[in-house]
């Protein structure tokens, strides 16, 4: 009976433990150490779960960096990110701080702590996140710090969110002024957005109705100037983000309707751009952590002129051709060699001017189109507005007239220039222009490219040959004092190098010009470098011989004379080096020097010398026995543990 109860309890316990094991499978791990998020490197402490092969942030997260050493030395860029994750998504209160501080090294001791005076700026963003999206009030600020005190607020913004959508009223301000405005529940800009100077003086107003910006009012010297933006007559509209594209769109419409230019680098637009960059900074960090929903989410309405599918395809082709053509054009205009040869070569000069003309008439307007496309606002401009915006002076002609410095004119007509129809309405006309510009540049590239290539080769020859001759002249230019120290054999080897150089240069000179010769020139330069290194090895021989002689000598006390005498040690090794290896290497230089073995030879001279220095210290008794009467250099090399020469 007792046994049976025990048995049951055992199984119950096993079941319980396996359940708890299942639960523990979800347990959080703690990471505490160095961590990198994008460009931020610092110390992090966070909890995470491992699910399958994925690591998911879960629980608290904190990462920071500050460096006192850097602060004292120069300046320090510190940061702190702190918040929570729930199942991989940011959740709850978060704070982000970015400091940039320097110090005047004024220190205070308070209690048991040193404090250092800092100057600089501190950016801070804080608020709540719900599944990665901003929720409730988010505030951003950038403050100027002097002597560890807040001196000034450089920027601030306060926006309320509901499920990532901005709500109700907001304020954004900087040192110049403060923008106040409000949103509808769906995030659309609404009502009047007003910018006040710090003296509460109204500078600029944007008038929205359900996201539709009808009018902007700029206060110039107390007189409000109204500028119509989107007229009420537009047939269709579309909700878009209030971003850089929208700013551009507004400025295009403003230019279109009014003679008063709006400076978009100031005023309301400036604040919106600034605010956007602060949000982007946080989004960049959260994106690295696996959530990319942190956006300010301002929505507006803009006129909409959708393209049909044919036009859409044409526009895509136009963009691609314009980008490619621009790359070719830029390549030529920035080519230093073309800039040089156009001065002496009339044809090159004409081509250059043609490219300049193609660039300004075709590529720049098309480049603007590419930019509008990048901003995503092409379809927010009517056909006429777009055309006027891109070509305020009318569309260009296929015939390009180039005038040279002497007033002579020359006309360039690209491929199919006669039949090009730039006047076609809408995107088709732009595509024709892009095609024409691209084909023309391709055509120019064929002729001009060859011209530049020839010139490049010519230039390369000049450079290489100059270098080669300088190297050949420098070779063997050793002072008499050095040469006099050399043995007959060593001098002979040195002269062989000089002679071989002359033969190589003569053979090179006789080669026909072309790529093969160019390759030969490059090869000879590296070969002459090896020859030079080999010569250096040869002139070092006497000095090294003395050095080794000294190294292979011991002082020995003779008790009969009571004097110290020099005794040569490891004689078989020094003899093998002096009487077998050196003559062998010199012989190789004299009778077999070429570009292929010059490097190996010079390395062998160097390595054998270094090996001699090592052998003096090593236990060589076995090797010395083997070296006895050994006259074969290959065997000696093997015993010395040196790589033999090939062939």
């Amino acid at each position: 009976m007792t046994k049976r109860i025990t048995h049951t309890c055992f199984w119950a316990l096993l079941l319980l433990s396996s359940i708890s094991h299942q639960c523990l499978g979800q347990k959080r791990n703690l990471y505490n150490g160095n961590y990198t998020i994008g460009a931020y490197q610092g110390k992090a402490r966070f909890t995470y779960q491992v699910v399958g092969i994925d690591t998911i942030f879960d629980g608290s997260f904190k990462m920071e960096r500050s460096n006192l050493g850097a602060l004292l030395k120069n300046n320090d860029q510190s940061f702190l990110f702190e918040g929570n994750f729930d199942d991989g998504l940011p959740q709850g209160n978060w704070i982000f701080q970015f400091g940039e501080f320097s110090t005047d090294s004024t220190t205070n001791v308070s209690g048991f702590q040193y404090s250092v005076n800092v100057n600089g700026s501190l950016q801070e963003a804080k608020g709540e996140l719900n599944q990665g999206k901003p929720e409730g009030k988010w505030s951003f600020s950038e403050k100027k710090i002097k002597d560890s005190q807040i001196l000034d607020t450089l920027f601030f913004s306060e926006i309320d969110f509901l499920d990532g959508i901005p709500q109700q009223s907001f304020t954004i301000g900087n040192a110049q002024g403060t923008l106040v405005g409000r949103f509808l529940r769906n995030g659309l800009a609404h009502d009047t957005w007003s910018l006040f100077s710090n003296e509460a003086y109204n500078i600029e107003n944007w008038f929205f109705t359900n996201g539709w910006l009808g009018k902007i009012e700029v206060n110039a010297g107390g007189i409000p100037i109204p500028i119509e933006i989107f007229s009420d007559t537009a047939t269709r509209s579309k909700i878009i983000d209030l971003d850089e594209g929208y700013s551009t769109l507004v400025s295009i419409y403003a230019d279109h309707s009014s003679n008063t230019a709006i400076d978009f680098s100031k005023g309301i637009n400036e604040l919106l751009v600034q605010n956007s960059s602060y949000y982007q900074k946080i989004d960049d960090i959260l994106s690295e952590l696996g959530s990319n929903k942190f956006l300010e989410g301002f929505k507006v309405k803009a006129p909409y002129f959708p393209l049909d599918s044919i036009s859409r395809r044409q526009l895509d082709s136009t963009v691609k051709l314009a980008v490619d053509a621009n790359a070719i054009s830029k390549g030529f205009l920035e080519n230093t060699r073309l800039n040089l040869i156009k001065r002496s070569d009339d044809q090159a000069n004409t081509f250059y001017r043609t490219i300049v003309a193609l660039d300004s008439s075709f590529l720049r307007p098309l480049g603007t189109l590419v930019k509008l496309e990048d901003l995503g606002i092409t379809e927010n401009l009517s056909e006429d507005m777009l055309s006027n915006y891109l070509f305020p002076n009318g569309k260009p002609s296929a015939q390009i007239v180039v005038v040279d410095d002497n007033g002579n004119t020359e006309t360039f007509l690209g491929p199919d220039g006669d039949s090009a129809n730039f006047g076609a309405r809408g995107v088709a006309g732009y595509l024709a222009m892009a095609e024409y510009a691209y084909q023309s540049l391709e055509q120019i590239k064929v002729t001009l490219g060859q011209k530049l290539e020839d010139d490049k080769q010519q230039q390369e020859f000049v450079l290489l040959e100059e270098q080669m001759i300088a190297q050949a002249n420098a070779l063997n230019q050793f002072p008499d004092s050095v040469r006099q120290g050399l043995s007959k054999r060593e001098l002979k080897a040195l002269n062989t190098i000089k002679f071989t150089t002359e033969v190589l240069l003569r053979d090179y000179a006789e080669m026909p010009t072309g790529n093969e010769k160019l390759n030969r020139a490059r090869m000879l330069i590296s070969c002459l470098l090896d020859f030079d290194a080999l010569s250096q090895q040869l002139v070092k021989l006497p000095e090294r011989s003395l050095e080794l002689q000294k190294k292979y000598t011991d002082a020995v006390f003779n008790p009969f004379t009571a004097t110290i005498m020099d005794e040569s040690v490891k004689k078989r090794i020094s003899s093998a080096y002096t009487n077998v290896l050196i003559p062998y290497m010199l012989e190789k230089v004299e009778n077999g020097l070429n570009c292929e073995n010059a490097r190996d030879l010079q390395l062998l001279f160097q390595n054998s010398y270094e090996r001699m220095l090592e052998l003096r210290e090593e236990d060589t008794s076995k090797m010395e026995r083997k070296l006895r009467k050994e006259r074969n250099p290959k065997v000696v090399l093997q015993l010395f543990n040196l790589k033999p020469l090939e062939g």
Partner: protein
């Protein structure tokens, strides 16, 4: 005290009379009116000298000499005279000063052709020496004091050992001829003079056992091997009669070797004792 004084005076007087040579020098032997010099004998010595380094400061001094002398028909190398084994433990106090202490076994051969006595008798010695070297310009000079305690016996059957002390001082120079110092390949000339005094109960009057004047020419093959050869003239009082002097002309040939049997790692630093 007065007695002692008179005693001293008497002894002094006796010494002066003895020195004048007008009285008997030794019992049974009569000093001649004038010193007598025997005809010089000719001899040849082949000597090996080993100094085997065994530690930083100690070396084994090992010498073996083969000494020949003339016979009636053959000058210099006619017959073997002595075979000489001299060993000692040497101590290098510094480069220029060293000491030795050891023993000698000398085998003496009876060279008296007319003698019927024993042919070979041993001779024993204990010896110690003190050598001082000094560089002078390119040469080296050496002062050597050697003291020997010597037990000898005659060739007669059952002859008793007699004990004597020998007091030796040697001055020697080694002057390189083809080099500015003594080094491998150097030929050097070495003049030397040694006086050997003796004392002991058996020594009556014959205190100057030997005066040796030698000149040698040497060659240094390696720092561990050198050879030398030279000619020596020597004279000294015979033990039997202080008025009779023996004389010798000796050709000498030497081999000097100084191997180092220490392990390689112990050789470094090679010889720097204190400098």
């Amino acid at each position: 005290m007065a007695y002692n004084y008179n005693n001293l005076l008497r002894n002094l007087l006796l010494a002066i009379i003895l020195a004048s040579g007008s009285l008997h020098a030794q019992e049974g032997e009569v000093l001649p009116e004038e010193s007598e010099f025997k005809e010089p004998k000719t001899r040849v010595w082949f000597n090996t000298y080993g100094a085997i380094r065994i530690s930083k400061r100690l070396y084994w001094d090992a010498q073996t000499h083969f000494r020949f002398e003339e016979t009636e028909n053959t000058p210099f190398i006619g017959q073997i005279g002595q075979v000489y084994n001299r060993h000692a433990l040497g101590y290098l106090y510094s480069k220029n000063i060293n000491f030795s202490l050891g023993g000698v076994l000398r085998i003496n051969f009876n060279t008296d052709e007319s003698s019927d006595d024993r042919n070979v008798v041993p001779e024993w010695r204990i010896w110690h020496q003190y050598q001082f070297a000094q560089p002078v310009y390119s040469a080296m000079i050496y002062h050597r004091i050697r003291i020997e305690h010597r037990w000898t016996q005659g060739f007669e059957e059952n002859s008793e050992y007699i004990f004597r002390n020998r007091w030796r001082y040697l001055f020697r120079a080694k002057i390189p001829l083809n080099s500015h110092k003594l080094e491998t390949g150097t030929v050097y000339i070495s003049p030397e003079a040694e006086v050997i005094m003796q004392s002991g109960k058996a020594v009556v009057g014959s205190v100057m056992e030997d005066l040796r004047l030698t000149t040698t020419l040497g060659y240094i093959l390696t720092p561990r091997l050198k050879i030398a050869g030279g000619l020596m003239y020597s004279q000294g009082q015979t033990l039997e009669n202080a008025g009779i002097f023996k004389q010798n002309w000796t050709m000498r040939f030497h081999v000097y070797f100084s191997p180092d049997i220490r392990k390689v790692k112990n050789k470094l630093p090679a010889i720097h004792f204190t400098d």
